[in-house]
Symmetry: C2
Subunit: 201 residues, 2 copies
Amino acid sequence: MDAIQDKNKNKDPIKSRRRGKELEAAIMQAVREELNERGYFQFTMEGVAERSGTSKAVLYRRWTNRAEIVLAAVRERIPLPLDEIPNHGNLRDDVCDALRSMNRNASELLSKALFGLVMELGTTTIAEVMFPQGRQSRSMSVILQRAIERGELPARLLTEREMNVPIDLARHELMLYNRPMSEETIAQIVDEVFLPLVTRR
Amino acid sequence: MDAIQDKNKNKDPIKSRRRGKELEAAIMQAVREELNERGYFQFTMEGVAERSGTSKAVLYRRWTNRAEIVLAAVRERIPLPLDEIPNHGNLRDDVCDALRSMNRNASELLSKALFGLVMELGTTTIAEVMFPQGRQSRSMSVILQRAIERGELPARLLTEREMNVPIDLARHELMLYNRPMSEETIAQIVDEVFLPLVTRR
DNA sequence: AAAATAAGAAACGCATCGTTTCTTAACGGT
DNA sequence: ACCGTTAAGAAACGATGCGTTTCTTATTTT
């Protein structure tokens, strides 16, 4: 009886079968670890099964194939839209900070899996994987609204295209070079392109 | 004896073994066709051998693995820097035309293979595959120089970052959506971003 | 004409996919 | 507390494709 209670609490001591959410969470974690350590092409279902202490049959009962399980694991970690967008008191620092946060988020897991996913799924695009519910992000409009309120910018309506310039250029850099942008690159995007564009008369 | 004759005849009425450059060109062409028709994940060495009428052994004598043969075939078709950059008599049309030519070049073969290659090679980046000898393209500086000579632009020195804005944004679109840019998108990049940026006072 | 070279056919071992079968642990209703 | 149901986990399967090897023979070179 005590033994049975123990079993339910800890899976390690003796064999205990995890189920449902607990099991699934362990699998998703194993998928991410395998992706990070081995990359998309070394990634195998056997590896995931072994790492998560289960079997392939369990995986294939939940996801139809390799791409689906990777997609599920990656989607769980797609950066959420921030509730709090740091306010540095000036437009330049706010935008630089937004790009730095792209550095932190993007270079982690996504880049390891993104291209492989798009290839293997065949029909999908990067945009669909990265922005399952639409591309426009709230952060730039918040940052720009603040700048207008501060009087840094004229109260002009920017187009989606304009306001996304720094984020698009940053994403472009990240995809091309597959590493975090340097501070110099961030400064170029903001100082040579974005600020001149939005503060022009 | 008849059986032997038959075997030899079955393959080809005239049995001729291609060699060297001729054979290699046929293989490279087969690689590109397989890539285009089947995509990177359906692409197989068997398929290439069959399509080019040779055998896997021949392929592996020349290229060490799947990624290498794809890379070789893709590199042959990486768009050459244009000798003649069309002159439309005004900056806007010149830039739009440059973006349209990216549409034509990029959406063909590269997008089918690029991501797969980067994944499989593991160590490589998109930039390395696309720009084996450096990123800066001559076309934008030619276009801008003409605009200056026409008096459309002040004779100001643009940074690399500035002058690459339309090309970078276009490449970003192509990678994200994996299809040619619409005329609307091209117009947005040029009219809402690039022209305001370079013609500002 | 003989020797050297390289094309092409065929089979191999291996890894991995996705599937299936079977046993049994854990759960849930009574 | 029991018992029937559900789902986990183990193990093997066939199929596919990689990269390799062996062998025959067409073509080139000497």
